[in-house]
Amino acid sequence: MDFKDTKEEAEFRNEVRSWLEANAELKSANDPPEDALGERLTDDDVAAAKNWQQKKAAAGWACLRWPKEYGGRAATSIQSVIWGQEESRFRTPANIFTIGHGMCGPTVMTHGSEEQKKRWIPKMLTGEEVWCQLFSEPAAGSDLAGLRTSAVRDGDDWIINGQKIWTTGAQFSDWGILVTRTDPTAPKHKGLTYFVVDMHSPGIEVRPINQINGGQGFNEVFFTDVRIPDENRLDDVGNGWRVALTTLMNERASIGGGGGGGGIAGLMELARSVEIDGRSALDQSAVKEKIADFMVRARGVKYTGFRTLTALSQGKIPGPEASFGKLVGGVLGQEMAAYAMELQGLAGGLNDPTVCADAANWQARYLGFPGLRIAGGTDEVLRNIISERVLGLPAEIRVDKGVPFKEIPSGS
């Protein structure tokens, strides 16, 4: 048992490091906080992201696990993780490609024709074309298969009408993966068809969503008589759910371990600096017990991540266990932020870094974490996934099973 790289891994890490050192600068502690969720991206940020991706692609460091014929290097999962670990130590532009590379690419490669792969994959890899995911709808979130955006055949085209929501990066995307309903008389999972849509098509309108934290990471996307040529359909008509499952499996794998445990050191620092009844909060039993509880959970997520990396290193494929990190990390991050604001006393009610350095940091986390507990699978959906796929408990009893979609009660 050790945390060391194998010989091959260490050699690979060195190779990665030397390229990064020659092409980027190491981060420093004084860097401003990153916009990790892409909630405040400008046109310049998008351009910088595309340049960096182009540079990586030219040197063979883009989408490492993808096949060589599309520009990848057919790397192992652990090599891809090592790349990610090393790149995160450097100052690099925001990554606007996570949806494309994490979900769209693998889906196209699994279900697309050779022609489709050649058309889309290489430009996705180089960052020349940005992709987004058009899945959720106002009335179909956790119950994704209840989606209503319709696609109706018209000659060689399909005509799309409806609305998608929670679409990250739609405003600067060139392509989107889109699940539509093509047969409302079929049971809900059966009547779906999966397309790739040109985001520059007439009839598409993108509107940013104003989040509770003031950010704008997501959009609503409206479709009014948007035409998609049939050649942009992925897999067969009526097979959309099967294709969507490929995307969702890849989504879970790419969201991974939550990261809610960051900030323990900051929380301890805060506890040391504030007083309760004339004594440092960090010297008090109730505070220690609370922080210890956070530490145990944060480390639990971290070391479970190490166990997953070990499985990857041994060539195994991690399963739905990835839901664990997001579930535990999301709640943990929100609770830690709330507790930090408690420790700040009345100043916890401020969002003003001029009064105390921490105000704004914890407050921003507290406003951000509700989103993390919902996006990419709510806590409740994750508990269902864990209980059904990991623990072998029965699936939900479905009252809409086998019922034609148009007859399913919708509450509206």
């Binding site: 048992m1 050790d2 945390f3 060391k4 790289d5 194998t6 891994e9 652990i78 323990i264 050191a265 301890m268 040391r272 960090l282 039993s285 220690k288 017990e289 922080i291 210890a292 509880d293 530490m295 145990v296 959970r297 480390r299 639990g300 997520v301 971290k302 070391y303 479970t304 190490f306 166990r307 990396l309 070990t310 499985a311 290193s313 041994q314 266990e321 664990f324 579930l327 535990v328 409740e380 994750l382 508990r383 269902n384 864990i386 209980s387 059904e388 990991v390 623990l391 072998g392 408990l393 029965p394 699936a395 939900e396 009893i397």
Partner: protein
């Protein structure tokens, strides 16, 4: 990255599991719990024949010479079986104390007997209700005699000798005491988990020999507790996993409202949460095992992470085990209460969960300051 046990260690674990399945079914734990028998001497002898007690004792002292990772995988299996034997007291505590602080002569005198299971050792530090730390202590070591009272002492009624935390002129000091000697009175106390026994030990000028440097008793005792905390965490993770599996199987078999109760989200989500707790505990315990095996600077913190994670996961699982069994979970005949009792007992034996949380934050703060 290799944050996993080796294939050999996994095979050892499977072998231990197979043996315990046959020789330590839950009926054995129940038999000890329902009788006046303090532990299963039969299981103790059988495990000793396999050399389990000497797993991590060097070969020169009669052990198998394995590391702590091998001991950890066996601890997990002993936990799964709720094995009713004084393994933790003798192996994780007394043996570790001798390995850390024993003189060559003491190691030669005690370790071979511990390795063979011929002798049972224990570790005595608590003296009164509410105590969690190894100090302060009113037990006095004067020269080679010991006086004072220790309570409760796990397996104190059956152990052949105890490593006792005492105070001497030099400060806290450890002593080894032969519990069958003159001046020692032992009283069996009623244990919350009668499958594990508890005792009061009274010493009146009992013969004792100093263990380790005088005045360093508290530091040595902390080191012993750190090591035991990791190993005991594996037992707790094992017990919690078994409780989880029994409960999951029960909810799959039990029907209500025309469906297995395991199909209700209220049940599924509770089980998912308990599974997460156990994963958190398991991963922290792996970290503890890594630190213990390398005996490195991370051990004091890793021990706390292991201990807190495992105690809380097993406690929570044992509580929900009864809850999810419904009425039958409250009956004597069902096994739930054996897990419920064991969970609570193990959460107390090395000091309560809160005390380990305090240590965790204090140690993390000290590490940051350094």
């Amino acid at each position: 990255m290799n944050f996993d046990f080796t294939d050999d260690q996994k095979m050892l674990k499977e072998t231990a599991a197979g043996f315990l399945k046959e020789h330590s079914p839950l009926e054995l734990c129940r038999a000890v719990l329902e009788s006046d028998q303090p532990f299963s001497t039969e299981l103790w002898k059988k495990t000793a024949e396999l050399g389990w007690q000497g797993t991590s004792i060097p070969e020169e002292y009669g052990g198998a010479g394995f590391g702590r990772l091998e001991l950890a995988v066996m601890a997990e299996e002993l936990g799964r079986a709720l094995a009713p034997i004084p393994f933790s007291s003798s192996v994780y505590l007394a043996t570790e104390a001798l390995l850390i602080a024993g003189s060559e002569e003491q190691k030669k005198a005690y370790l071979p007997r511990l390795a063979s299971g011929e002798a049972v050792g224990t570790f005595a530090f608590s003296e009164k209700v509410g105590q969690n730390g190894v100090t302060p202590t009113d037990t006095k070591l004067s020269g080679d005699t010991l006086s004072g009272v220790k309570l409760p002492v796990p397996d104190g009624d059956v152990a052949d000798f105890a490593v006792v935390v005492a105070s001497s002129d030099a400060g806290p000091t450890l002593a080894i005491v032969d519990l069958s000697g003159a001046g020692v009175t032992r009283t069996t106390l009623e244990s919350f988990d009668p499958s594990r026994s508890m005792a009061k030990l009274e010493f009146a000028d009992a013969a004792a020999e100093q263990l380790g440097e005088a005045g360093k008793g508290a530091e040595i005792a902390e080191r012993v507790l750190n090591r035991a905390a990791v190993l005991l965490a594996f037992e707790q993770v094992g017990s919690a996993s078994r409780a989880f599996e029994i409960t999951r199987d029960y909810t799959l078999e039990r029907f209500a409202f025309g469906r297995p109760i395991a199909s209700f989200q209220a049940i599924k989500h509770k089980l998912a949460d308990r599974w997460c707790d156990i994963e958190i505990a398991r991963s922290n315990s792996y970290y503890g095992a890594w630190a213990l095996e390398h005996d490195n600077d991370e051990l004091p913190i890793a021990a706390c992470l292991s201990r807190v994670g495992a105690s809380e996961a097993f406690d929570a699982m044992s509580v929900d085990m009864i809850q999810l069994h419904g009425g039958v979970g409250f009956t004597w005949e069902f096994d739930c209460h054996m897990f419920y009792r064991r969970a609570r007992l193990l959460s107390t034996v090395l000091g309560n969960t809160a005390s380990w949380k305090h240590k965790l934050v204090d140690r993390a703060a000290a590490q940051e300051a350094a």
